[in-house]
Subunit: 340 residues, 2 copies
DNA sequence: TTGTAAGCGTTATCAA
DNA sequence: TTGATAACGCTTACAA
């Protein structure tokens, strides 16, 4: 016989026990004598045996994999620091749990639905992360229909049963506005991302209520799509308003950086003629000229926590929602006093 | 009995045939009467049955999944347009083939090795993409040892058996240098990425040979790491050289953008005092000020082709290497004539 | 061309 | 506390 990989039968035989007992031991089930357990573990270790997930999945209907379906344009993913950092956080947890991440990048809603359905039909994953929540997100109903364990990244708009791992981004936006007001700005514009996203919507709301709190009238507000192109176009629109604002709050860093580019191209100085703030804490923002004042969150911790919560949901059937530390303003040089 | 998902047995029974025949039909195997085949397909379709990959994998030892292990800092992934675009390309092919992408993001070589070994030990994937090739890349030996089908993204340095999907990036670098020379530049610096990567090494070599071809002496050359921080620091070093160059070629866009930021912070104008070129064609580069002259490749096509080749390698045991269209220079406004 | 039956490597059930 | 033995859902010899 060729030296094929050892199976549970080989381990059982070598340890002089039945397959069932070996299974009990690797699954940490009670009812096995301590010395028997130790012996089995020793043999398994010596033979370098571990249960194969796909064989196991046949009887348990568990795949030991978690799914993440991302519906975004590649261009947007490319410039979003959330994406890889969140993934790194998830990954750091999964490896220790013998889990694996199945990732799917789709471009439209139809492909997105199909992706979730196929993941379930093919029993590819035991649960999924729901990111980029929309205000009316049909994935909430979908995962319920499919009986697919899921957790929401960022609080869904409607009240939901789903465990949620959330991070308050409104605080950072409020800090941005307050920072600008303290510097003496009175006309502060806002470039929103896509407000069909919960986070896009919430950030805009935070801007509006902060302006109100400062007893300033909000606007101009431009709605766009979180992309560099969108940020530049929105900035152009803002420049056309009269009276022109002296500062602009952007809903993410990419739009802010593109916005600064457009301002400079039009001959305006940042921050002398226009102050600018971003959101994300992208690495690049430290090295632009001027360096971008922005709001930084901790997406890696977000991913880590999300993975832990999802695993708990899968194994225990329920899990708590978690609120992470809020995003914080980091002041750099793209903001300053308005020139009179 | 509850209405559990149909299995191959249900389909066989309903169609009045054996399980074996159903299996033959879904696997497109010859030797089934045409009308029988049609009837079986009709029944399967009607019942909404498809073979479950994990049940299938037990006998075939195929997982219907492809693996991609990425060893990079999240920060670097975050700013690299290659990553999501390549992934989108891969994904666009996989879905049609009932395949899934298992992605792993690791931070060091030890975790990387472990990731590949676990993927194989757990029979998680049928093959892997090898990206970010190093000049002496131990993964080539590793996949050989593991018997893991793999394709190289970008040509490995040493002669290898692996099918390769490559894209000539040296052409774009040469174009960059030629463009600058035509504009009248004679002292052209270079900010390399990490030259332990094949692509980092090749780009630098392309710069050097282009300079030689133009009968100019190469340098200053600064080696760094493809990050924004690295790009800024390298630029600072270049500014310290005497005589100072009038143009700098950067090995990627992020370093180029950070470099422009540093130049401007030091009071230099781009391109009047210093021309700058990048590499990647990142979306953001169109909207910086000035807009970045850069080299654009098509990483989405790269991913698409890579997926097709890898699938062929897995199913047929061999696959051709493919050479994609070379990257091309796109001139924008970060390059101009040197001021005398 | 079709059916039967034996795997594939686990976990689950039920006795002992 | 342990051991047989039957699932789990599919593929694949081998027979018919």
């Amino acid at each position: 016989m060729v030296d094929r990989r050892p199976t549970i039968a080989d381990v059982a035989q070598r340890a002089g026990v039945s397959k069932g007992l070996v299974s009990f031991v690797v699954n940490n089930r009670p009812g096995v004598a301590a010395d028997t357990r130790a012996r089995i573990l020793a043999v398994a270790d010596e033979m370098g045996w571990r249960p194969r997930p796909n064989a196991r999945s046949l009887s348990t209907r568990r795949s030991s994999a978690l799914g993440w379906v991302v519906r975004r344009e590649p261009d947007v993913v490319a410039t979003d620091p959330f994406f890889p950092a969140f993934m790194a956080g998830v990954e750091s947890v999964l490896a220790d749990h013998g889990q694996v991440l199945v990732l799917s990048l789709v471009s439209d809603a139809v492909a997105e639905q199909r992706a979730y359905r196929t993941l379930v039909a093919d029993a590819r994953v035991d649960g999924v992360f729901l990111t980029d929540l929309h205000r009316a997100d049909d994935r909430l109903a979908l995962v319920a229909e499919l009986g697919l364990p899921a957790i929401a990244i960022g609080r869904p708009d409607a009240h939901q049963e789903l465990p949620t791992v959330d991070l308050d981004d409104t605080h950072g936006v409020a800090q941005s506005v307050e920072h600008l007001v303290e510097l003496g700005h009175r006309r502060i514009g806002y470039v929103a991302g896509d407000i069909s996203f919960v986070h896009g919507y919430r950030r805009r709301a935070a801007y509006a209520s902060s302006m109100e709190r400062a007893e300033l009238s909000a606007g101009p507000i431009v709605l766009t799509d979180f992309s560099a192109a969108g940020g530049a176009a929105a900035t152009s629109q803002i420049l056309d308003t009269d009276p022109r604002p002296t500062a602009v709050v952007y809903a993410n860093d990419v739009m802010a950086i593109a916005g600064m580019g457009l301002l400079q191209q039009r001959g305006l100085r940042v921050p002398e003629d226009m102050s600018v703030t971003g959101f994300d804490g992208a690495a690049l923002g430290r090295y632009t000229y001027p360096a971008l004042t922005t709001v930084v969150a901790d997406p890696m911790a977000w991913g880590r926590t999300a993975a832990e919560v999802l695993l708990q949901l899968i194994t225990e059937g329920h899990a708590p929602s978690v609120e992470l530390a809020p995003a914080q303003l980091v002041v750099r040089t793209s903001t300053g006093r308005p020139t009179p």
